[in-house]
C-alpha cells in the first residue's frame, strides 16, 4: 500500500491564477472583436447577407460554398471581422496548455516522475489536437 499524501498540489493556486487572468483576457478579446465584427468595422470574410444561407449547411458544404478556411487558415484571416473573433477563442482554448507547461516544470522540480509523464502525454495531446497534423484539413 502506497502512503497517501493528503496535501493538495502545490501548483493548484498558481494554476488558478493563470486560468483566471487568461480566461478574462480571452473573454475581453472576444467581446471587442465581436463588436468590431457585428458593427461592420472589420469586413467579414463571409458576408452577413450570405451567412443565413450557409449556417444550415453541413460543414464540408459550408467550407466549399463560403470559401471559409479550415486548419490554421484562420490565422491568415485575422484582419477579417468574423475571423478576428478567433483571437479570443484561441486564447480560451490555449489556457490549459499554458497551465500544463507550468505544471510540467513544477512536477519536474518535485521529481514526481509518474505525474510528469501524464502531464507530458496531455501536452502532446494538446499539440496533436491543435496542430491539425493528425487529420489534416483545409489550407
Amino acid at each position: 500500500m502506497t502512503q497517501l499524501d493528503y496535501k493538495n498540489s502545490s501548483f493548484q493556486n498558481t494554476y488558478a491564477q493563470i486560468l483566471n487572468w487568461g480566461s478574462a483576457l480571452g473573454l475581453i478579446c472576444m467581446l471587442i472583436t465581436f463588436a468590431l465584427y457585428a458593427f461592420g468595422i472589420l469586413e467579414p470574410l463571409v458576408s452577413f447577407e450570405k451567412l443565413p444561407e450557409y449556417w444550415s449547411l453541413p460543414l464540408s458544404e459550408y467550407l466549399e460554398k463560403s470559401g471559409a478556411p479550415a486548419g490554421w487558415g484562420w490565422v491568415e484571416n485575422l484582419s477579417r471581422g468574423d475571423y478576428s473573433n478567433y483571437i479570443g477563442i484561441a486564447i480560451l482554448t490555449s489556457m490549459t496548455f499554458v497551465c500544463y507547461i507550468g505544471l510540467f516544470f513544477d512536477q519536474i522540480r518535485q521529481r514526481k516522475i509518474l505525474i510528469t509523464i501524464l502531464v507530458v502525454i496531455e501536452l502532446v495531446l494538446f499539440i496533436v489536437a491543435s496542430s491539425n497534423l493528425l487529420f489534416p484539413v483545409g489550407h
Binding site: 500500500m1 497517501l4 499524501d5 493528503y6 496535501k7 493538495n8 498540489s9 493548484q12 493556486n13 494554476y15 488558478a16 491564477q17 486560468l19 483566471n20 480566461s23 480571452g26 473573454l27 472576444m30 467581446l31 465581436f34 457585428a38 452577413f48 451567412l51 443565413p52 449556417w55 444550415s56 449547411l57 453541413p58 460543414l59 464540408s60 459550408y62 471559409a68 478556411p69 479550415a70 486548419g71 490554421w72 484562420w74 468574423d82 473573433n85 478567433y86 479570443g88 477563442i89 484561441a90 480560451l92 482554448t93 489556457m95 490549459t96 505544471l103 514526481k112 509518474l114 505525474i115 501524464l118 502531464v119 496531455e122 495531446l125 496533436v128 489536437a129 491543435s130 484539413v137 483545409g138
Partner: protein
C-alpha cells in the same frame, strides 16, 4: 456513515419562509419563459425570415436562460445547449457541437479558478481523469464529424437517444456527500489521488481519497468519446463516476468535474476549430449569454425551489431528446 440522498436536495435546500409564494411564482414564470423561447423558434422553424442579428439576439437570450437554469438545476449548460439549439435553431449540428464545446469550456474556465483556490477542485484528481477523457474526446470529435459527413441524421438521432439516457440518469442518480472509502487503492496512492478541503459550514477539515481507481478511470474513456462526439459538457457523467464509483466527496466530485472539463474540452475544441466548425456568430453570443445567465443563476440560487426547476429541466431535455430523434427521421 454513508448518506445517500438526491443530488439536487443535497446541494440546494428550499427555503421555508413567507416569501416563498412570491419565489415560486417567479420560478413558475421563469420556467414558462424557458419553455417559451425554443417553442417560438420551433414554431417559426428554420425558414423564419429573420436577419442574422435577430438570430444572434435570440441565441443570446436562449443561452442566458440555459445558463440561468443550468446553474439552478445543478447541470452544465452544454448538455442543454446542444440538443435545444440543434433542434430548434436553423444552424447545422456540426456548428452547434463546436459551439457547445466552447460553451462548456468557457463555463469551466470561469468557475475553475475559484474552485481550485478553495481546494474543492483537485488538480491531482483531474490530471489522470482529464488525460483519459481528453484523449478519447479527440476520438469522439473525429467520429462525430465523420458520422455527420456521412449523414447528419445519424448524429442527430444518436444525440436524441443520448439525451433521453441522460434524462434517465438524472431521474435515477443518487449521490453520497461523504462516501466511505476505508483506504485508497494502490493506483490511487501511486497517482496521489487524495487531498484535503475545508467544509464551509462547519470549518472542519475533510481528508479524502478514492477507491476503485482503475475501473473509475476506465469509465472516462466513454465520457471523453461522448463529450467530443456530441459537444456536450459531461458533468452529468463525471459526477456519478467520481462520487458514487470512486468515492470522492460530493463537493470534490462536482468541482473537479467542472474543472476537468476545461482540460477535456480543450482538445476536442481544437479539433472543431481546425475543421472550420466554429462560427463566431453562434459561439460568441452563446458564450456571453450562458456566462451572464450562470452568473445571475448563482446569485438567485438560494431564493428558488430547486427540485421544481430540476424537474422542469428534465422535461425540457426530454422534449429536446424526442425532437432530436424526430428531426433525425426528417419529421
Amino acid at each position: 456513515m454513508n448518506i445517500s440522498i438526491n443530488i439536487s436536495s443535497s446541494i440546494f435546500q428550499p427555503e421555508n419562509n413567507p416569501k416563498y409564494n412570491l419565489r415560486s411564482k417567479f420560478t413558475f414564470l421563469s420556467l414558462l419563459l424557458f419553455l417559451l423561447i425554443p417553442g417560438l423558434v420551433f414554431a417559426g422553424g428554420s425558414d423564419l425570415d429573420m436577419p442574422w442579428w435577430g438570430w444572434g439576439i435570440i441565441l443570446f437570450l436562449t443561452t442566458f436562460i440555459i445558463g440561468l437554469f443550468g446553474v439552478l438545476a445543478g447541470i452544465g449548460g452544454g448538455v442543454l445547449f446542444v440538443p435545444l439549439v440543434s433542434s430548434f435553431f436553423p444552424f447545422h449540428i456540426d456548428f452547434v457541437r463546436g459551439a457547445g464545446l466552447l460553451i462548456a469550456l468557457g463555463s469551466s474556465l470561469a468557475a475553475a479558478p475559484t474552485l481550485l483556490k478553495k481546494d474543492l477542485a483537485s488538480l491531482k484528481l483531474a490530471i489522470p481523469v482529464a488525460l483519459i477523457a481528453s484523449a478519447f474526446s479527440i476520438v469522439g470529435a473525429m467520429i462525430g464529424l465523420w458520422l455527420s459527413s456521412v449523414n447528419p441524421a445519424f448524429i442527430q438521432g444518436s444525440l436524441g437517444v443520448l439525451i433521453l439516457m441522460i434524462v434517465v440518469i438524472m431521474l435515477m442518480a443518487k449521490s453520497s456527500i461523504y462516501p466511505v472509502v476505508k483506504e485508497g487503492d494502490y493506483l490511487a496512492g501511486l497517482l496521489g489521488l487524495s487531498g484535503t478541503y475545508k467544509e464551509g459550514a462547519t470549518g472542519k477539515e475533510v481528508r479524502w481519497t478514492v477507491h476503485r481507481t482503475a475501473i473509475g478511470l476506465f469509465c472516462f474513456v466513454l465520457v471523453g468519446v461522448l463529450a467530443g462526439m456530441f459537444g456536450l459538457g459531461a458533468g452529468w457523467a463525471n459526477v456519478p463516476i467520481l462520487n458514487l464509483l470512486m468515492g470522492a466527496p460530493l463537493k470534490i466530485a462536482v468541482a473537479t468535474s467542472s474543472f476537468s472539463l476545461s482540460i477535456t474540452d480543450t482538445t476536442a475544441a481544437w479539433v472543431y476549430l481546425n475543421k472550420g466548425a466554429v462560427l463566431p456568430i453562434i459561439v460568441v453570443p452563446s458564450i456571453m449569454g450562458i456566462m451572464a445567465g450562470a452568473n445571475i443563476g448563482a446569485r438567485i440560487l438560494p431564493r428558488v425551489k430547486p427540485t421544481l426547476i430540476r424537474k422542469m429541466v428534465i422535461i425540457v431535455l426530454l422534449l429536446a431528446g424526442v425532437r432530436s430523434i424526430l428531426k433525425a427521421f426528417g419529421i
